[in-house]
């Protein structure tokens, strides 16, 4: 187990390095300079470039990035908050924490609501409850998060005035509700659908028949025998969910005016603030990769057939 985790961590670092290289070349593939504005003179641009080391050859710039990152230095912002260390922007201004909180709650909501709903639908398959849940979840996976966010905003903030229109720094519970719900709705519905399918699949397995023949109670059959087996596909889906929730937070944050990392990243990309783009990409990628690692480990715990050392398809 330990050696597996070590291997995976090493692999993750490699992937992060690769992501850095890709990001670097993508950033620099845009012609011109981040300092190019209508007013700026060529001299000013050249000075700014020299100041931040952008005049050096690309491979040296890339090497500097990697070297500094290994030291834990994420550089300074070029444009958005010129001169401020990127580390401060991401971690100390609360952006990272804000996004993490939002994403984590959305993830929890999706799991806590999605899994029981899927089980219920599977257990009462063919009933009105199953039908109703099927309609809800099917529509739920067809509504983009930002559309739902906007609709909720109209209904609950503008018309009914129950929740604030701007969630800001998420000061209280009320400000969380709409962003978290709209961020997690797609995944809640998807997990519920997935859970229903895999639960039904599990219920039809031979070992469930064995359990029934053994005289296990219905509750035991569902909760002990079917649930654990049917959780396996849901767990594998949690990796992509994390990535999706981070993505979704980009739009949810701007809809609810939450100054999180996602919103900031979009601004950085459009204003070409290289060090911030790089740092945000690396931090968010690391988040996804760590989550994937966690998923794999949980997977191993739930399914004893998986051996982590020799992974097979």
């Amino acid at each position: 187990m330990a050696s597996y985790i070590l291997k995976r961590v090493a692999g993750s670092i490699l992937i992060l390095l690769l992501i850095m290289v890709v990001t670097f070349f993508l950033m620099n593939a845009v012609p011109g300079s981040p300092f190019l504005t209508e007013k700026s003179t060529p001299e000013q641009i050249a000075n700014a470039n020299a100041k931040y080391g952008l005049d050096k050859p690309l491979y040296i710039q890339l090497w500097n990035y990697i070297r500094n990152y290994l030291k834990g230095d994420l550089g300074v912002s070029l444009k958005m908050q010129e001169g401020t260390p990127v580390k401060d922007i991401i971690f100390h201004q609360g952006k990272f924490l804000l996004s993490i909180k939002l994403g984590l709650y959305a993830l929890l909501l999706a799991i806590i609501v999605g899994i029981p709903l899927g089980c219920l639908a599977a257990y009462f398959r063919g009933s009105w409850l199953d039908g109703a849940l099927r309609v809800i979840t099917t529509v739920g996976v067809a509504i983009p998060g930002f559309v739902l966010a906007a609709l909720l905003l109209i209904a609950f903030s503008v018309k009914l005035n129950i929740f604030p229109t701007k969630s800001g720094n998420l000061p209280d519970f009320k400000s969380y509700v709409l962003p978290v719900v709209s961020l997690s709705s797609y995944y809640t519905c998807y997990i519920a659908k997935l859970m229903r399918t895999s639960m039904l699949d599990a219920i039809n397995q031979d070992y469930i028949r064995t359990a029934r023949a053994k005289g296990v109670k219905t509750g035991g059959i569902i909760l002990k025998h079917a649930l654990r087996n049917s959780l396996i596909p849901v767990i594998t889906y949690l990796g992509p969910v994390t990535a999706g929730i981070i993505t979704g937070s980009f739009v949810i944050e701007s809809t609810f005016s939450i100054p999180g990392l996602g919103k900031y990243f979009v601004q950085c990309v459009t204003s070409r603030d290289y060090p911030v783009i790089m740092a945000t990409t690396v931090v968010l990628s690391a988040l996804v990769i760590v989550m994937m690692l966690v998923v794999d480990i949980v997977y191993k715990i739930v399914d004893p057939r998986i051996t982590l050392t020799a992974k097979e398809d």
Binding site: I15, V30, L151, T270
Partner: protein, 456 residues
């Protein structure tokens, strides 16, 4: 083997009684002919895979309804724009910020003519109330309804239109007065409903089509834009799905067929792409590709029809395609590889190999036909995911750029003014949701119909 009936130890029953109890007739114990035997057995007709799949799909009500609704959406997106007089890009200056079915004053007055048929009479008014009128458009108001008419020739007398069935006097206005909006300040001209000798036939102005979804802040018709946006979104979805299909299935089948170290390396690449949070890269790609693409369009659009088509779509959309080609094929590749690996192990493939069938024959005769189910399903479900990604990018201000529209960009535009004009978001959002929903349902139906594992 002859039946050893000799050993038979009978019931102590009278055979005649047996005949009676069971109603056995004479000749019943004679042998039945083969024809008689066959007539008792109803043979199953064998149906082809596709016919069977279509039969199963057809019996799935939800999917059939979804398919129908999706076809309606296609009609809306591709035929719809030719049926309404508005264009997605035209700005009607006087028609800004209208709600659904609202009309600008211009249109309102123009629309008034709709109710007027040919059976109207114009009569001369009392001379002297208004002097000569120039030819042109005039507006009439009677009670709450108003009419517009055109004078063909210079007229000495003022002409008035009268409803045949109504004796109510009509008001007459000049064009200028209407434009100023000073309807009621104008002279009321009483008239009679008796046709006179001086009656003049009136020409009516054009009909006005309502802004069903309203207009945006620049005066563009939102229904036209939604139709256009739906078309763009669907095209993006389909093209992206096809790109994914081609790249993914090629990559997957090569990897699965080759096996060994080639498969190993190819799958490590897939895993790598899998663990990259793609949207971060997508966002970067969007920004990065914009300028080079535009430069490329300008340089080559004269010479190449392909580039011209691309440049019509715009840099945003083309970079979405590139994104899909670079990052989104991995799922498809995995599915196809899995399918190929599974099929490779099937006995009939082994049998074909043993019989000396060439690789090409095995691929075309055995592997491809059996992969078609998953291929169709994955492609179908890829379309909504591409539409989602496009709307997401457009929402962030990337993707398509004005005056072009996609459902995502329409939603995004609407969000700016959400508190004032919520309907601007609602219409494209509903269309977007319906398209994605129906495609998902059709995809689910296809999976149920095509997946042989569910075949019973």
């Amino acid at each position: 083997m002859k039946a050893p009936f000799a050993k038979f130890s009978p019931f102590q029953v009278d055979p005649d009684k047996i005949m009676e109890t069971f109603g056995i007739e004479d000749g019943d114990f004679s042998k039945a002919s083969d024809n008689e035997k066959e007539s008792m057995v109803e043979m199953h007709k064998s149906i082809s895979y596709w016919k069977d799949a279509w039969r199963r799909f057809r019996s799935n009500t939800v999917s059939m309804v979804a398919l129908f609704v999706f076809l309606v959406c296609l009609f809306f997106a591709f035929i719809g724009p030719y049926l309404i007089p508005y264009n997605y890009a035209d700005q009607y200056r006087t028609s800004q910020k209208l709600g659904p079915f609202e009309y600008s004053e211009d249109e309102q007055t123009a629309r008034l003519a709709e109710g007027v048929g040919d059976g109207f009479f114009a009569t001369a008014l009392r001379p002297g109330s208004i002097t000569a009128l120039d030819p042109g458009e005039y507006y009439l108001k009677s009670g709450r309804t108003s009419y517009v008419f055109t004078l063909d020739t210079l007229t000495e007398n003022v002409i008035i239109v009268l409803d045949k069935n109504s004796a109510e006097p009509l008001k007459l206005y000049t064009e200028d007065a209407v434009k100023k909006g000073a309807w009621d300040n104008y002279t009321v001209l009483p008239c009679t409903n008796t046709p006179s000798e001086n009656a003049v036939r009136l020409t009516l102005t054009k009909k006005v089509f309502p802004h069903v979804f309203g207009t945006d802040s620049s005066g563009r018709d939102l229904m036209a834009r939604t139709m256009y946006g739906a078309r763009v979104s669907i095209i993006i979805g389909v093209v992206a799905a096809l790109i994914v299909l081609v790249i993914g299935s090629l990559y997957g089948s090569i990897s699965g067929l080759a096996g060994g170290p080639v498969d190993f390396v190819m799958m490590r690449i897939v895993e790598l792409i899998y663990s990259i949070p793609e949207v971060l890269i997508v966002l970067l790609l969007q920004v990065v590709l914009k300028d080079p693409l535009q430069a490329w369009f300008q340089a080559h659009s004269e010479t190449s029809a392909f580039v011209r088509a691309m440049s019509d779509l715009g840099a945003g959309i083309v970079s979405i395609f590139i994104t899909f080609a670079v990052l989104y094929w991995v799922t498809m590749a995995r599915i196809i590889r899995g399918q190929v690996l599974m099929l490779k192990k099937q006995e009939y493939v082994t049998a074909a190999t043993a019989l000396g069938a060439s690789n090409g024959r095995i691929i075309t005769k055995h592997l491809l036909p059996n992969c078609i189910g998953p291929l169709v399903i994955t492609t179908c479900l890829q379309i909504p995911s591409a539409i989602f990604l496009e709307s997401f990018l457009s929402f962030l201000g990337l993707g398509v750029s004005a005056p072009m529209a996609s459902l995502g960009s329409l939603c995004s535009d609407a969000l700016q003014t959400i508190t004032l004009y919520p309907y601007r978001l609602v219409f494209p959002a509903i269309v977007l949701t319906i398209i994605v929903l129906t495609l998902n349902l059709v995809g689910d139906g296809l999976r149920d119909a095509l997946d042989p594992r569910l075949k019973k």
